[in-house]
């Protein structure tokens, strides 16, 4: 349990707890290993547990009716997923898949209720975690709902494109996100959308603007 206690200590849900409390909570934790590529949960299913990533990386995504995947977040060691459905009793709003071999620590829903009753500090920490999660999701919804992000990405591409004579600095998706006031995942989706609309092609380490007028139109539409 020593390793688990050190891990639990680092989790925001269990912040401020002493060793006895952490050991008590640790007794409710189960371990689950997942292979790379394995689907951990499908969108729309009941949530079996609150999961914490101990090692590896998990992607949280939604799939549209046309089969397009939108990554909402990447969950890294020390972070959690299933927070919302495990507390509100609803179905999982997104799917989760292992990007690498993953070790998860999970707490089943009924055990979580026991923990909340027995450890008021955990209940307090939980409100803070969920409030923070809500804020992140509201921001993501805004980015995904409005075309102004695609327009901003289109403008960034136009402003940073080289005509072949004058070299321009290269950009990572993270840098584009910072310039667009958004997040990497939304920029990645915007680039795919621009490619689907025929305005650009995505090549290995190169974005080729194939329809400059289409990009300019998107900039105009987003204003």
């Amino acid at each position: 349990m020593a390793i688990q206690r050190e891990f639990l200590e680092s989790i925001p849900y269990f912040s401020g707890l002493d060793a006895d409390e952490l050991d008590s909570i640790g007794s409710h934790v189960f371990e689950k290993t997942v292979e790379r590529g394995e689907i951990i949960q499908l969108e729309g299913n009941p949530a079996e547990a609150l999961f914490f990533v101990a090692s590896g990386a998990v992607k949280v995504f939604k799939t549209s009716a046309e089969g397009k995947e939108q990554i909402l977040s990447i969950v890294r060691p020390g972070e959690s997923f299933n927070d919302i459905p495990v507390f509100d009793g609803g179905l999982t709003p997104a799917s989760t898949q292992a990007m690498t071999p993953v070790v998860l620590y999970g707490i089943a829903r009924d055990k979580l209720h026991t923990i909340l009753r027995e450890h008021p500090q955990v209940a307090l920490n939980t409100t803070r975690v969920l409030a923070d999660r809500t804020r992140q999701l509201v921001s993501l919804v805004e980015d995904l709902s409005f075309r102004h992000v695609i327009g901003r990405v289109a403008r960034i591409l136009l402003e940073h494109a080289s005509d072949g004579k004058t070299p321009r600095p290269r950009l990572t998706q993270q840098e584009m996100a910072a310039l667009a006031g958004s997040v990497r995942e939304v920029v990645a989706r915007s680039l795919k959308a621009l490619e689907a609309e025929g305005a650009i092609t995505l090549e290995r380490h190169r974005i080729r603007i194939t329809d400059k007028k289409a990009l300019e139109a998107m900039v105009e539409m987003s204003v």
Partner: protein
């Protein structure tokens, strides 16, 4: 020599997530240093950049107009 992702070793804490997520074997640990090896198999999926918690890996894009660059 193919273009490869770049790693900032000052930001890298050797968590190993990039190595785990890479499906083409381009990222390895050599003498405890995360190293990008040259391989034509790298498809520029940018997953290594996405999973890094410290933004230590960069998969940058050149942006060009069709017919130029």
């Amino acid at each position: 020599m193919p273009e490869m992702p770049e790693i900032d070793l000052e930001k890298c804490d050797r968590c190993g997530l990039c190595i785990s997520v890479c499906t083409c074997g381009a990222i390895v640990l050599i003498r405890n240093i995360v190293t990008i090896t040259n391989t034509d198999d790298c498809g520029w999926c940018t997953w290594c950049e996405a999973v890094c918690p410290n933004e230590a890996i960069s998969c940058s894009f050149e942006i060009v107009f069709d017919g130029g660059g």
